[in-house]
Amino acid sequence: MSQLIYLDNAATTQVYPEVLDAMVPYFTEYYGNPSAIYTFAGNAKKAVDEARNILAEGIHAKPEEIYFTGGGSESDNWVLKATAEAYESKGKHIITTKIEHHAILHTAEYLEKKGFEVTYLDVDENGLVRLEDLKAAIRPDTILISVMAANNEIGTIEPLAEIGAIAKEKGILFHTDAVQAFGHIPIDVDAMNIDMLSASGHKVNGPKGIGLLYIRKGVKIRSFVHGGAQERQRRAGTHNVPGIVGFGKAAQLAFENMEKRSKYETELRDHLIERVLAEIPYSRLNGDRTKRLPNNANFCFRFIEGESMLILLDQNGICGSSGSACTSGSLDPSHVLLAIGLPHEIAHGSLRLTLSDKTTREEIDYTVDKLKTIIERLRSMSPLYEDFVKKQNQ
């Protein structure tokens, strides 16, 4: 078994060698500022344009609708704050969900302090937004609906086309945080009526520190980072040319290989899920069984706590993540697991394993084998398990 089994691809991914190769010349050779007038800068400008074309094409957008940012969190901040500001005269009500990433949730909370009203939709036990809840939440003063494309913890894929259709019918802007979904599952901004979309480079084997916001032509949101005239005066700052080139290359590979990759990861993911549920007692799968990202598996194991599990996995060279309070730095476990209705003590025992196209079946089998031993060990020292067993024997 290799020394490292990396199963935290929802946190970040490896930069593919092809991606790095594509980036390197833009550090060392074509380092010119694409905004400059001389021929030397032309190569950099051309590379930025090419990347923009690839990224736009992948989601059926126009190149001039793609704006490069510093990452997914910036895109989310920009879209919420700028939409609120631009459409304030129309209304001050925003609809989002309880399971969004904190880049959306904390920005929404910030807007609440600024006098906006936010409805946080509940989700069902699999993490899906209920369309009737969405319809019921819409008011005359609703200016924006922001629902993530796929959840970062439990992998649930939201019904974007249906949400987009509702938003369009009501004349409300629709934003989706597609940081986890972009390049992993098909997204069509036209067919799905998406007006704004956030994506990030490092979740699709591109570099960190680069993201994008797609803004449909005609949507009047303004600059968030003020300064130079880059990005059609909507996002100042010298272009991160190597980052943009890397993002473009990574997206190109992701879109080209999506079908194959998705099939491979889905099979492996299902093998992982089946083995865990069959071989580890008192375990459950979080999120929808089929409407989920190809590479995401998220479990809860009763009577144990997530951080202990992560430390022991790490000692076996396995990288995973958990929604336990101890890994979040607060006393509450993951807001997503609570939103799907799990009690606190069960949410504390969660484990997220996210695969890549490089993950092998051997790695998955090794991980499940280790997991069984680890969970058994932690349960043997858990007072909750002791009580449970005593109760069973009564």
Binding site: E305, S308, A325, L331, H348, M381, L384
Partner: protein, 147 residues
């Protein structure tokens, strides 16, 4: 993020288990917050702690502080065991990250809870021991939910 001592006590926890007919047993913490510690004490007629065992549901620091707490009280008198504070547990572990300090407080609380149980069972009053806050009431119902 953890010291070597913490990792050692997490990987090789001392005194994990239960004691049959313990002189005192106490459970503290709250599953809601992700930590529950149960401490068993076997105390002889001279008031000396002969044996200490624990079971813990919680993070790496929770396991390590429980383990260290049992080590520190073993062989001590009841009065001496009362001096095993969260600070003593932390120091013995070469420190804890700031967000994990509450684990050491829980360990101290577990010792007190077990001693309180001992005092009640034996109808004695331990000088300087106050009724500990045991906060596990909420766990019972929810944890039984069907899978």
């Amino acid at each position: 993020m953890y010291s070597e001592k913490v990792m050692d006590h997490f990987n090789n926890p001392r005194n994990v288990g239960e004691i049959d007919n313990p002189s005192g047993v106490g459970t503290v913490g709250n599953a809601k917050c992700g930590d529950i510690m149960r401490m068993y004490l076997d105390i002889d007629d001279n008031g000396i702690i002969q044996e200490a065992k624990f079971k813990t549901f919680g993070c790496g620091a929770a396991v390590a502080t429980s383990s260290m707490a049992t080590e520190l009280v073993k062989g001590k008198t009841v009065q001496e065991a009362l001096q095993v504070t969260n600070k003593a547990v932390m120091e013995a572990l070469d420190g804890l990250p700031p967000v994990k300090v509450h684990c050491s407080l829980l360990a101290e609380e577990a010792i007190h809870a077990a001693l309180w149980d001992y005092a009640e069972k034996h109808n004695i009053k331990i000088e300087g021991l106050e009724k500990p806050v045991t906060d596990i009431g909420e766990k019972e119902e929810a944890v039984e939910e069907e899978y």
